[in-house]
């Protein structure tokens, strides 16, 4: 068996890539959560509006539109959360494998070079 310590760098790259994907997914989720909050705010504002009889039709339509939009955002949030769960698993696996290999190399590989 020949040990190639440069593989540790590759494992580090994989770990960083998995982590970046996770961070990206979390950032996307944050955007969706903000959008959801905004739609909820708009929805509450529309529900509080007390318009004239002719305006009420428009308000109802607007509320319907906002509810549809909120449903879509909620769906995306759910999907994004599932995706983050998976990405978290991948990132953890990559991180732990890298750590295990680094610890193994520190214990078994002398002279800091390939054996």
């Amino acid at each position: 068996m020949t040990i190639d310590l440069s593989r540790l760098t590759v494992l580090g790259t994989i770990s960083a890539r998995e982590n970046a994907a996770l961070e990206q997914a979390r950032a996307t989720l944050d955007v969706e959560l903000s959008a959801s909050k905004e739609v909820r705010r708009q929805l509450l504002a529309e529900q509080r509006r007390d318009g004239t009889a002719s305006e009420r039709g428009n308000i109802r339509r607007r509320i319907e539109q906002l509810r549809t939009k909120q449903g879509e955002i909620d769906q995306r949030i759910e999907e994004q959360e599932a995706s983050i769960e998976l990405l978290q698993e991948r990132a953890t696996a990559a991180h732990r494998l890298r750590k295990t290999c680094e610890a193994w190399a520190a214990r078994h590989v002398q002279n800091g070079g390939a054996q």
Partner: protein, 174 residues
């Protein structure tokens, strides 16, 4: 290039990808099974001969010493002093050693049931062999993963992969 040619190329590519993933799955399944067999070897009971030898060694230790002779000497001594009322444990063990051997020996035999014991030498030999085979499987898995990565295919690595395989040089894997 005709539509048929393109379809064949796509089919070939899909089949190639499927073969790669199927092979990886197969190797990983074999790794799980090999680990299970290693656990079974580790947990297998000692051979009946070894277990009985251990029992005999223990009884011999428990009954060792000169307690019986010393006690007997008391009764023949011209200046007799009656022994204490409590009988020393070694004396009891010596008195019942045969019955003890039969009792525990019988329980040992019964405890095997359908399980087969394994001698220390066989256990060490079988473990070494299984661990060698496991490492070979880990090398094979690593070779497949590196090939996939080389082709730009993202493969999820096992968290508990053997560092000897993960850090192995590409030349060795070939």
């Amino acid at each position: 290039m005709s539509d048929i040619d393109l379809r064949r190329i796509v089919e070939k590519s899909v089949a190639g990808g499927q073969t790669l993933m199927t092979t990886l799955e197969d190797i990983r399944k074999r790794i799980v099974l090999k680990r299970y067999s290693i656990t079974k070897i580790q947990q297998a009971p000692a051979s009946p001969d070894e277990a009985l030898q251990r029992l005999n060694d223990w009884i011999e230790t428990a009954t060792a010493g000169s307690a019986v002779e010393s006690l007997a000497a008391r009764f023949t001594a011209p200046g007799y002093r009656q022994p204490g009322s409590a009988v020393p444990l070694e004396i009891i063990a010596a008195a019942i050693s045969g019955a003890l051997r039969d009792l525990i020996g019988g329980a040992i035999s019964e405890s095997y049931g359908s399980a087969k014991g394994i001698s220390a030498a066989d256990r060490a030999r079988e473990l070494a062999k299984a661990e060698r085979e496991l490492l070979e499987l880990e090398y094979a898995e690593e070779a497949i993963i590196r090939h996939a990565e080389h082709c730009g295919i993202d493969v999820l690595r096992r968290i508990d992969a053997d560092p000897r395989a993960v850090l192995c040089s590409g030349e060795f894997l070939k």
